[in-house]
């Protein structure tokens, strides 16, 4: 007979026993030791049928294939650009993936992306040794002009985007800012009114600190309505771009 010792969405710490017996299965962030399932990180429990999983609350960005991230051009190499990704590893952006335009052999690459530029790119491949290939070919992928970058914990990015982008589109609507959320925890904001940009930054910081609370969209909605003094009618946004 197995019994579960934790509730759904409970904060657990490494080593804590989540369930006893063989009726449950260890999922992501947990491990089995003899009869017991233990937590392997600080996280929120998530019970998926018989599997016990943990949603991480902290941690560096782990590059994943298909993620749209914001990266900073760090160096220019022979055949492309080396970019920092807010993870432990650098990403390579090859010339052939950099733009849809034709770049002749031996062209001055700094004319296309300069060191220090921020770009929105898509991760095409990640090897086992964490070599990352970044591509700029795709809708919405471009160089970022102006604006500002804020950093959040990557595990909290899904909360900032919200269900089908509901959270980020609400902030966009309330503040009138352009916002791009990278999966790596870098967020680009740009707006006409400095006051509104600051409000958006503050909102994002608030979401980050309250990410583990349920019903967050409503709390943020009320807060934004109070701050801006206008009614917000939520509307869906597909991907937060």
């Amino acid at each position: 007979m197995g019994n579960i010792l934790v509730k759904e969405k409970q904060i657990v710490v490494p080593g804590e026993i989540l369930a006893k017996g063989m009726d449950y299965l260890p999922g992501i962030g947990t491990y089995r030791e003899g009869e017991n399932i233990h937590a392997a990180r600080v996280g929120l429990t998530y019970i998926d049928g018989r599997a016990l999983k943990l949603i991480p609350l902290a941690g560096k960005y782990q590059p994943k294939k298909g993620d749209t991230i914001i990266a900073k051009v760090k160096d220019i190499m022979f055949s492309g650009w080396s970019c920092t990704t807010n993870s432990a590893y650098q990403a390579m952006m090859n010339v052939k993936d950099a733009t849809s335009e034709f770049i002749p052999r031996g062209a001055d690459l700094s004319q296309i992306y300069q060191i220090g530029d921020y770009v929105v790119g898509k991760i095409v491949t990640v090897t086992s040794q964490k070599l990352i290939d970044l591509s700029m070919k795709g809708p919405g992928l471009r160089r970022l002009h102006g604006g500002r970058i804020v950093y959040v914990t990557p595990s909290k990015v899904p909360r900032i985007i919200g269900k089908k982008g509901s959270m980020v589109s609400m902030i966009k609507q309330a503040t009138g800012c352009k916002i791009i959320v990278g999966q790596n925890g870098m967020i680009w904001l740009s707006g006409e009114e400095p006051k509104n940009v600051l409000l958006a930054v503050k909102t994002i910081e608030m979401i980050e600190s309250k990410a583990h609370i349920s019903g967050l969209t409503d709390i943020i909605k009320q807060w934004l309505e109070k701050e801006t003094g206008q009614k917000i009618i939520p509307k869906g946004d597909e991907n937060g771009l």
Binding site: I11, V13, P14, G15, E16, I17, G29, Y31, E33, H38, A40, R41, V42, P56, L57, A58, G59, K60, Q62, S87, A88, Y89, Q90, S128, Q129, K130, S155, K210, H212
Partner: protein, 235 residues
């Protein structure tokens, strides 16, 4: 004449008062603060990040680097000369070795995780406080860990087995002498990853001391657990 009463009036199996906190250093990826009596340790975790020089990198998993540092004003007597020394280097190494068995860095090949342990105040048991703080900081940084590392010193003063010696006890003068044994225990698996000894001890007393250490480690685990949860359950 034996050692009937501890110098600070504690019970023989009682640790000094323990406090712990996480998230104390905002700019770090994870941080922890651990205080046992008058020994205080701050630990800050940075990384995983690029490792230079490159030849130190391990292509299979991340490297853990610990930096143990006693602050100049932290000691009981003379000013501690700043910078590293042989003692600090040795303790940094045993700290890293004590933490590695629970830490899973296989997701971060070729990278490094730096743990800086700073001690503003020491009264014996500083490596133990440092390990406890470092384990809190690593958990706070979100690493995959099988357990938390709970470290405490046990030992023998004259004829009595005691837990968590302070400096006065370490320096106690008596016929049978003093033995000091820093331990690092993983409370879930009951495994030991640090076992050092300074002094002379009979095998029976060593066994008794380690059993007392196990009980103290479980108490430390509860305090660490509460500290990690307090960060998120505050509001």
């Amino acid at each position: 004449m034996g050692y009937d009463k501890r110098l600070d009036g504690r019970k023989f199996d009682e640790t000094r008062p323990i406090e712990a906190k996480v998230g104390v250093i905002k700019n770090a990826d994870g941080s922890g603060w651990f205080r046992i009596g008058k020994s205080t340790a701050y630990a800050a975790v940075y990384g995983p990040k690029n490792l230079y020089p490159k030849f130190l990198a391990n292509p299979k998993r991340g490297v853990l680097r610990c930096h143990y540092n006693m602050m100049p004003f932290s000691g009981m007597g003379n000013r501690v000369r700043p910078g590293t020394n042989r003692r600090a280097k040795e303790i940094s190494m045993v700290t890293a070795n004590a933490l590695l068995p629970i830490l899973d860095l296989s997701d971060f090949p070729n990278s490094v995780v730096d743990v800086y342990i700073e001690l503003p105040e020491t009264d014996a048991g500083s490596r133990c406080a440092g390990i406890c703080a470092a384990s809190l900081a690593l958990a706070d940084a979100g690493f995959l860990m099988k357990d938390l590392a709970c470290s405490v010193a046990v030992g023998k003063v004259d004829d009595k087995v005691v837990v968590d010696l302070d400096y006065a006890e370490e320096a106690y003068e008596c016929d049978a002498g003093v033995a000091d044994i820093p331990l690092c225990i993983f409370p879930q698996s009951k495994k030991i990853s640090l076992l050092q000894m300074d002094g002379i001890l009979s095998p029976e007393s060593l066994k008794e001391a380690m059993e007392a250490g196990m009980i103290a480690a479980e108490k430390i685990y509860d305090i660490q657990k509460a500290a990690l949860k307090a960060k998120y359950e505050g509001d």
